[in-house]
């Protein structure tokens, strides 16, 4: 039974067998059922896709430095932004936090030995690889130019690019996402350690649970939709082609039925990470635990009711437009609650300004702007003007990059010591966090103004009078690029040269900090019994802060 004195484990003993050292053959990785190894394999593959998507982003920004389409001709540009979107959304944003951090931490956080269905978990990784491989194959063959939305009838009839291969890649990758969601739901229901009640779950777990609901209920619809798209492209029956009786609007409905909730797949896990960071680095219980937990579920449910706001200008009736606009406004409320609660959590805390918290504070600022500009786009009178302009581009980058990517980076730094047993460089971490924040704002804030000017998105060339803002944007993108590359360097560096992190470097109460770093294959040596609420600090909950302070003093002196 886990108890207080087991928390600070003896660091002088010889290295214990952990999940990384438990078998080193290729087979022991490829056929592993260990959620932590699967998470590490996800980490490597997802990072590779992120890098590729980032290169496309760099190409896009360079092209937009000048009004004419001179760096790339428009066909190449169209492929660049499409592939940027496809890679980033389906192969980075959706799996990033759930499949890497969630996979690694969710079982540990609830005190389980593994996910409930480890073989399904491995299967989902293979689906991800197959789907990703198929997409990469299409990209190498010549790419795809439909935009990540695959709007018909352009994608079914008019495009001469590899729509089918990419569509099938997304179809298969969809099952990766579904199986991960399924696994998380089952795990949260059945695998909680004794004493780990629903309202003792870390908020990260709540967020993952809400995300999983969306994955289960939404992803199958996109799967069948891209399957129909592929069939339509192969044999051309005409379900999406109006020339022979089909309906392009139908595709948009099916597509957005998934893809709007998918936006919440891309932000809810980030919110979960931020809840962890804000609470843990203020060393204080989060303000209004229940409100935050339920607002995650509320966002997941309401997220399914608002997809029509992507189709405001598609000839929708005023009735449908107003209904969707109204519901969109309602979704804003749970996000606002989270925002206020995070801020209130900082009040009277003991705030440790380290890299993860810098990212978390960056998230608060960027997500605030991203969320508020969502109101601009939900307000139907205004959005007629803003639809399909750079305002939209800026808005969703503020949410996706400013939200999910920053939260992901914050989470990665936060749990890096746990995952690898090594401490990253705090100095370089802070520098990169600040570079990302500054570079990001410089990149995307000008795009709000560009959008209100009316600059349409997906344009390879644009009117000359808009160049100044685009130059700002490209300049910012290069800063952002540097900021995002730095963690790759110093995190990898820390693997070999970083100092050992210890089991609980920050003296935090979560279950993941009560096992060794890196954790053993079955996560805990004995089954933990939870007797404390989430985010409860203090010695009565097994945090021997006196001892930790003594150690800290010794290590700083020596």
């Amino acid at each position: 039974m886990q108890n207080a004195d087991a928390i600070i484990t003896d660091s002088s003993g010889e290295p214990k067998v952990n999940y990384l050292t438990n078998g080193s053959t290729i087979k022991s990785w490829l056929l592993t059922k260990d959620h932590k190894r699967i998470a590490i394999m996800y980490l490597v593959s997802v990072s590779a896709f992120f890098l590729m998507g980032g290169l496309y982003a760099a190409a896009i920004r360079l092209e937009l430095l000048t009004p004419a389409s001179d760096l790339m001709e428009s066909g190449t540009y169209n492929k660049a932004f499409t592939q940027h979107g496809v890679l980033m959304i389906f192969f980075f944003l959706i799996p990033a936090i759930p499949a890497i951090l969630g996979n690694f931490l969710l079982p540990i956080m609830i005190g389980a030995k593994d996910l409930a269905l480890p073989r399904i978990n491995l299967l989902s990784l293979y689906f991800y690889w197959i789907g990703g491989g198929l997409t990469l194959y299409a990209l190498l063959q010549g790419g795809v130019d439909t935009g990540w939305t695959f709007y018909t009838p352009y994608s079914t009839t008019f495009s001469n690019t590899f729509v089918m291969a990419v569509g099938l890649g997304i179809f298969i990758n969809g099952f990766s996402s579904i199986l991960t969601g399924l696994n998380f739901i089952v795990t949260v229901h059945t695998m909680r350690a004794p004493g780990m009640t629903w309202f003792r779950l870390p908020l990260f777990v709540w967020a993952q649970y809400a995300t999983s609901l969306v994955m289960i209920l939404g992803t199958p619809v996109i799967a069948i939709t891209v399957l129909m798209l592929a069939i339509e492209r192969a044999v051309h029956i005409g379900i999406f082609d109006p020339a022979i009786g089909g309906d392009p609007i139908l595709f948009q409905h099916l597509f957005w039925f998934y893809s709007h909730p998918a936006v919440y797949i891309m932000i809810l896990p980030g919110m979960g990470v931020i809840s962890e960071l804000v609470s843990n680095f203020s060393r204080k219980k989060i303000f209004g635990y229940e409100f935050i937990a339920f607002s995650s579920i509320a966002i997941a449910v309401f997220g399914f009711l608002v997809w029509g706001h992507h189709m405001f200008v598609s000839g929708q009736s005023i009735y449908a437009g107003l209904v969707f606009s109204f519901l969109t406004m309602v979704v804003a409320v749970p996000s606002a609650i989270k925002m206020f609660n995070w801020t209130a959590t900082l009040y009277k805390g003991s705030i440790l300004w380290n890299t993860p918290l810098l990212y978390a504070v960056g998230f608060l600022g960027l997500f605030l702007i991203g969320g508020l500009t969502g109101l601009f786009l939900g307000s139907i009178g205004l959005t007629v003007h803003l639809t399909d302009t750079y305002f939209v581009v800026a808005h969703f980058h503020y949410v996706m990059v400013g939200g999910q990517v920053i939260a992901y980076l914050g989470g990665l730094h936060y749990w890096w010591p746990k995952m690898t047993g090594k401490m990253y460089s705090e100095f370089w971490g802070k520098i990169s966090a600040m570079l990302v924040f500054v570079g990001f704002n410089l990149t995307f804030f000008p795009q709000f103004i560009l959008g209100y000017q009316g600059m349409p998105r997906r344009y390879a060339s644009y009117p000359e009078e808009l160049q100044v803002l685009n130059i700002f944007s490209t300049a910012g993108a290069s800063v952002l690029g540097v900021g995002l590359m730095m963690p790759v360097v110093y995190l990898v560096h820390s693997l070999f040269f970083g100092k050992p992190a210890g089991d609980n470097p920050w003296m935090l109460p979560g279950l993941e900090w009560r096992t060794s770093s890196p954790p053993p294959t079955e996560n805990f040596e004995t089954m933990p019994v939870v007797t404390w609420e989430a985010y409860e600090f203090g010695e009565e909950n097994g945090l021997d802060t006196e001892e930790a302070r003594r150690r800290e003093a010794v290590s700083t002196v020596s």
């Binding site: 039974m1 389980a112 030995k113 593994d114 996910l115 409930a116 269905l117 480890p118 399904i120 579904i178 969601g181 399924l182 696994n183 739901i185 089952v186 795990t187 229901h189 059945t190 695998m191 909680r192 350690a193 004794p194 004493g195 289960i216 209920l217 939404g218 992803t219 199958p220 619809v221 799967a223 069948i224 939709t225 129909m228 069939i231 044999v235 029956i237 005409g238 379900i239 022979i244 009786g245 089909g246 309906d247 139908l250 409905h253 099916l254 039925f257 079955e522 004995t526 089954m527 019994v529």
Partner: protein
Amino acid sequence: MSSHASDKFVYHEPGLQHQFEDMKQQEESVSIGMWMFLVQEIMFFGGLFTVYLVFRSKYPMAFAAGSNHLDAFWGGLNTLVLIVSSLTMALTVYYAQKGNRNMQVVLILLTMFFGAVFLGVKAIEYTSKYEDGLVPVAGLNKKVKENPNAEHGAAQAKPCYEMGHGAEHTYINPRGEFQWVDCSLVKVAEKGGFLTPEEKIGYYSNGDIDADKFRDKVRIFYWIYFVMTGLHALHMIVGIGLMTWLLWTAWKGTYSHDYFAPVEMSGLYWHFVDIVWIFLFPLLYLLGRHFLH
């Protein structure tokens, strides 16, 4: 889960996987996992049902015409076959709980048999669609090069609303294209005054029924028919695969009162496939039947 005494030595029960503490937890996990999978399946088919809904509301007459040509006898028979197989499946679970090996084996064999009958009937239906030129993909229909019954140019001679659909193969179809000449239902609907404006746009050109335009809409119905029943048949095939595995394990006497989760889970899957068909049958086979009277 709070009931587990974690410091107790856990003996290894048969079929217990390493991540679980006991069988109860494992069964619970597997059961919830299966249900989540079914939820996922429902949404997966749901996308197709949405397509069905939208097009049926746009082109009800084309759907009715296409549906009337499906063979409701075979469809109905298949419904009954699936219901019987559902019963045998339910009984399999019942006897697995009782640990009765022989009854399990017999009932699984029966379930597989009825599943196979279902697929056989499906094959008969698909073949007749192939021969009638109703596969919505050009080139995948029977190529009718010469037809003794065909009056050459018959399709041009009579307006389409006086034709019955080519039961006597009164057409020549050398490239195996989708064939549809009968639009009599549109005439009926026109006379009855319940043709929607959208349908009129869909079926008419120059103020009169256009056989080609109508054919495109019927083809959409047949697309939906083939994709939905095809996906359903695919699920049946997977189900029969599951049954084969189940048969093998049941033969070995794996299942007892304490451990029957695999039987129960396969049963859930089988019943789900049955439920999909319960909806497909009226929606595809029967939707226009009442116009015939």
